[in-house]
Each structure stands twice: as structure tokens, then as C-alpha cells.
């Protein structure tokens, strides 16, 4: 209730963002197309396009074919006008990827990890990146732990960083917009971004991994964090009389492999059923390295024994690493296109 209302002075930012987003998602557009898509008057679009062209933010692609009248000038976004960096914080190292507004990778590399070596080492590394690529306009960090509003809530094994505001720290240091996100949430965002844009779907990204399973959850297009940043900890779902999800998918030494697989298929199917009965998501995404088509078909069939097929989510496999990177890219780009200059 009673929040601030968007005032005329916020309009410049909104219009810039709209033009950038439209040009990037459509590839190119004419002024009329922009005006219609954004619901902004033609003269205003003209003014902004002119400014952006002078700044070098736009490319002119020449004239359209005539549709019966004067030919229109076609514009595209200059993808190298601004760059962003995705940084994957891990135990011993920090992988970074520099990319442009089209998502094209400019450089990949490895920095010392801040979790072990401390934050200053990492900061210096970032500083040198910014020196070499002065067009870098935002930073996107991926973290294997809980994050809320740029603050690290919890990373298993690195208690000294609990409640550390990574976003604030780097924003004050580099005067650049920063976003911080959990790895699973970034992955589900990345997958969301990649797929054909359904309007605000619900998605669950299921990851097994060595440290126990976890899930990144999107509801109506928004990341779910939960009241204590515990959402997605599906290990704990009690699916059997005396086993939860984690226990049910753990390989039992010295048992029949075929039976064991069937048991694990049933466990995943029950989890899918739980997710469906609670959230009814559009899709559940698995890590391509952890499943195959045969397994997915089996899980799908088994799930139908718990809940009518029509309500079950689509089950798909995807490249986790790629989706994770893609999610951070998207978060970083969102910061770039929201810049108010």
C-alpha cells in the first residue's frame, strides 16, 4: 500500500530501457515499430533515438523495403556499446565471462576464488578487468548458497561470509550496478530466458549433484526464496514411510542395480507429483548430465500413477552450466539496459 508512484522524471529511464529491450529482443526496428510496441509517441522515440545514435549506442542498418510509401530507417542496438561480467564464485577459483549486450562472449578466464583467498584478491582482479574493458557496465555474481537482495545469507562451509552484502560491497567499490544470485536460481532464470516466452510460467530446475539435490523454483516468472531462504531444499520432502527424497535417491551399496534405478525413478516421480499438487509448474528441468530420454520417459510414466497426466509438468533435460551462465548473463544485461544514461 501507498508506495511511491512513477513520476515523469522516471520516464527517461523507462523509455531508454524499453527501446534497448525491444531492439535487443527483436534484433532491429524502425521508429514507428518502436513507437507502437512501447506505446510511446513517435516524436519522443525520435528524440531518444537521435541521442542514442550520437552516443554510438545504435547502429543504422539502412532503409527498409518500401511498403507503399517513404522507406523507413532501420535501427539496431550496438551490442558492444556496453559489456558485462558474469562471475561464478566457487571454492577454489572464480570463473569469469565477459560478454556483450547480445550475450556474445568476449573473454573467459579464471581468477583466484574469494571464498578461500579473501575478497580483496578478487576485487583487484575485477579492477584489472574493468581497466582492460572500460565498457564493462555491470557485474553479475553467481553464488553456491542462499542470497537475498545481494546479501549472502548462507554458504555451507564459509560461515565468515554469512550475512555479507556482496552487492553493496562491489557497488560502492566500482560504482557499477551489481547483481548477486544463487546458482540454482540463476540456472532456472537462464532456462526461462532461453525458452519461447510463455507469459510468466512456473518452472522447477532439479539438480542432483554430490552435496545432495536442490531445486531452483520460479513461480509466475519470479524466483522463490522463501522466508528463511530454504526454498528448493527438496532433499527433505518426506516421500516414503521412512525416507525423504535425499535418502530415497541415494544409491544403496550391494543392491540390485535395476531395482535401485526403479526405486530412484519412483522417488523422482513422487517429487514431481508433490511439486504438481502444490505448484503445478509448467515444466521441470533436469541436468542433461544426470538424466537421459529413457529415464525421463520412465519418470513421466511413473508420475502419472500419482497424478492425472494432464496436470503434470513437461519434463526436459538441459545444460546446467549453460543455463547458469545464461541466467547470470540475463541478470547482468538487465542492469545494463536499465542504466539511465
Amino acid at each position: 500500500m501507498s508506495e511511491k508512484i512513477s513520476t515523469p522524471k522516471d520516464m527517461k529511464k523507462e523509455i531508454l530501457r524499453g527501446i534497448r529491450a525491444t531492439l535487443l529482443s527483436c534484433g532491429s526496428a524502425t521508429k514507428v515499430e518502436l513507437s507502437e510496441k512501447l506505446g510511446i509517441s513517435f516524436p519522443t522515440i525520435t528524440k531518444f533515438i537521435h541521442q542514442m545514435e550520437e552516443a554510438g549506442e545504435l547502429l543504422t542498418l539502412g532503409l527498409d523495403e518500401s511498403s507503399g510509401g517513404r522507406r523507413a530507417q532501420r535501427y539496431a542496438y550496438n551490442p558492444d556499446y556496453q559489456l558485462s561480467v558474469a562471475l561464478f564464485l566457487e571454492r577454489t577459483e572464480t570463473q569469469y565471462t565477459i560478454y556483450n549486450s547480445m550475450g556474445e562472449v568476449k573473454e573467459k578466464g579464471i581468477s583466484p576464488g574469494f571464498l578461500l583467498d579473501g575478497i580483496e584478491t578478487l576485487a583487484e582482479q575485477i579492477e584489472s578487468l574493468i581497466k582492460r574493458f572500460p565498457r564493462i557496465g555491470s557485474l553479475a555474481f553467481g553464488v553456491p548458497g542462499s542470497v537475498n537482495g545481494g546479501r549472502i545469507i548462507y554458504i555451507p562451509g564459509y560461515e565468515k561470509y554469512h550475512d555479507f552484502d556482496l552487492k553493496d560491497h562491489f557497488e560502492t567499490r566500482f560504482k557499477l550496478p551489481v547483481v548477486v544470485e544463487n546458482d540454482m536460481n540463476a540456472a532456472v532464470l537462464g532456462y526461462y530466458d532461453k525458452m519461447d516466452v510463455q507469459d510468466n510460467p512456473s518452472l522447477v530446475y532439479l539438480y542432483f549433484g554430490q552435496n545432495g539435490p536442490g531445486a531452483g523454483i520460479l513461480v509466475n516468472g519470479n524466483v522463490v526464496r522463501g522466508s528463511t531462504s530454504f526454498s528448493g531444499e527438496v532433499s527433505f520432502v518426506p516421500l516414503y514411510d521412512r525416507r525423504n527424497f535425499q535418502q530415497a535417491i541415494t544409491y544403496v551399496e550391494g543392491t540390485n542395480a535395476a531395482i535401485n534405478e526403479a526405486d530412484r525413478i519412483d522417488a523422482v516421480s513422487r517429487l514431481i507429483a508433490s511439486l504438481t499438487a502444490i505448484l503445478n509448474p509448467n515444466a521441470v528441468i533436469f541436468n542433461r548430465d544426470e538424466v537421459n530420454d529413457r529415464l525421463l520417459t520412465a519418470i513421466s510414466a511413473r508420475s502419472a500413477s500419482y497424478i492425472s497426466k494432464e496436470h503434470l509438468p513437461k519434463l526436459t533435460a538441459s545444460d546446467w552450466q549453460e543455463d547458469y551462465l545464461n541466467g547470470l548473463k540475463r541478470l547482468g544485461l538487465n542492469l545494463l539496459i536499465s542504466a539511465d544514461h
Copy 2:
């Protein structure tokens, strides 16, 4: 991506809405207070307040005590300026409640139910209500079935109304804004509205009932509907080797009552654990008629055997009928305060 942007012509509506919402939630305010809370300039607030006062939409409460300078005029919203009707569609009858902008009930009554008697009978009844209360400015329908965007997707037992656009039907007929919501979703919204405003919490309203249990789910303050409007159908969550939630809470004839209750407590606790591992909601609300403090304490204790206490939701009991009505009231009022006149 690339949606319409709020243009200056939308501002009037936004400002009106802001002033109304602030006055109703704060009780009263001065022009300066409104200006600061809404981030709108003082002259603009003055203009709008003047218009609203002339229309009779505002009450002047006299002058404030001086805080060292000229005393400020204090304004309040005239709660009877606009009315709204909440209509509970049920099998054999339709209960209606007419209330004002403060939520004060003006009249309660019963109409023929449209599910059995057809829509025209109900429409005529509403027409006569509007004739008697010409200040009615919106209609809010509660439906015991799935709803999406004002369209009834599914009501068990009334197949002829599947895919019927109730909102569109009554909006064209009465030229009034209409909102339609499922009963569980309305209840969870109503509870959300009642409690001290945490910022966008996640809540689950758990209802047992005769036709099997169901849940209304709010994530980040938004209603969860799911891809096929199946979300909240928690009956189907598989919690035991051979029983899902519905089966586990069904009373088994001829068994020991105490054991039976313990079993049901365990079933609910497991559901809470599942909800926590997936959504990690702030609270789970039960119908006051279906639980008591002793049960809640038992469920709470039992849940802690599945998931660490710190992550578990707060368990509370509330009046379902009241929350349901309150939710519809809120939805109807939201339409009133968004009116652009």
C-alpha cells in the same frame, strides 16, 4: 520484454489510486503527508484533493495541531462514496455482502444460486441490488472452482460452466469492473490483507472440508494458479509408501481414535515439511473450525522431526469464512480505488 510503458495519461489514474489507498490505509492525512508518501509534488496533490473534495469523495477532519507553524488541513476518505458487492457462488444459493470502502457491511443477503438456477436469475438479482444501492462500483465473485483471468476453468459438478467468462459477462452487462476468484485463493488473500503487512510473504491456507483437502497458495504476495489451475490440490501429495495426503487424513473406520489422530498429525506434519522444503512459506493457516491449539502444537513438534525448526512456517488458525469474505472485499476494493474518475 518490450511491453507498454506507463504514459503521462495513465498518471491521473495512478495518482488517484495512490491518494485513495493512502487515505484508506492511514485513516487520514494532510496534503504534505500525501505528497511525501506518494512521491508526488504538493501542487499536484492539491489539485487532485480539490477535485475529490468537490465530488464528495473526501471528508475534511479540520485542522491539525500546530507543529510550530501554520496548521494543516486533515483529510479522510469518505467511505460511503463507493460501495462494492461480494458474491459467494454456491451450489443452491448465492450469498451477497454489500460493503463500503472501509469494509463496513451495509447489507447481507441471499440470492438464488446461479450454478443451479442459471445466470439470468442471478443477473436480475444483482440488477436490483444496483438499483437500490446506486453507489455500487464493483463486483467481486467467489467461486468454488478454478478461475483464471475472470474465466471459470473448472467447477466440479457444473460442467456447463467450464470455460465460462464470468468477468466478461457481468462487465458488459453492468458496465462495472468485476473480479472473480477461487474460494481458497480469496481466503489466503483475505488473511494476507488482515495481518501486519510483511513485504510480500509466502502463505499457504490449508483447508480440509468434506470434498477433500485443498490449499490456497501465495508466493511473494501473488496467488499461485499453476499451468492447469491444479496448484493447491495437496490431496495428491504422496507422503507414505502407499498413501497420499488425502488417504492419510481419512478417518479409518473401526480403528483406535488416539492412534488415528496421531497418524493424521503425522500426515499434516509431512505436508508442512513438503511445503517447507519446496516453498519455505512464512506461515500456514488452518481453518479454526478444523484445528485447535493442542493440534497445532503437536503438528509443529512433529514437523520439526522432518525439517529443522528454524525453517518451518508459523502455524496459525483463522476464521475461514471471515478470511474468504475479507479476500473478496479486498479484491472488490482494489477495483474501486483503481477507478479513473
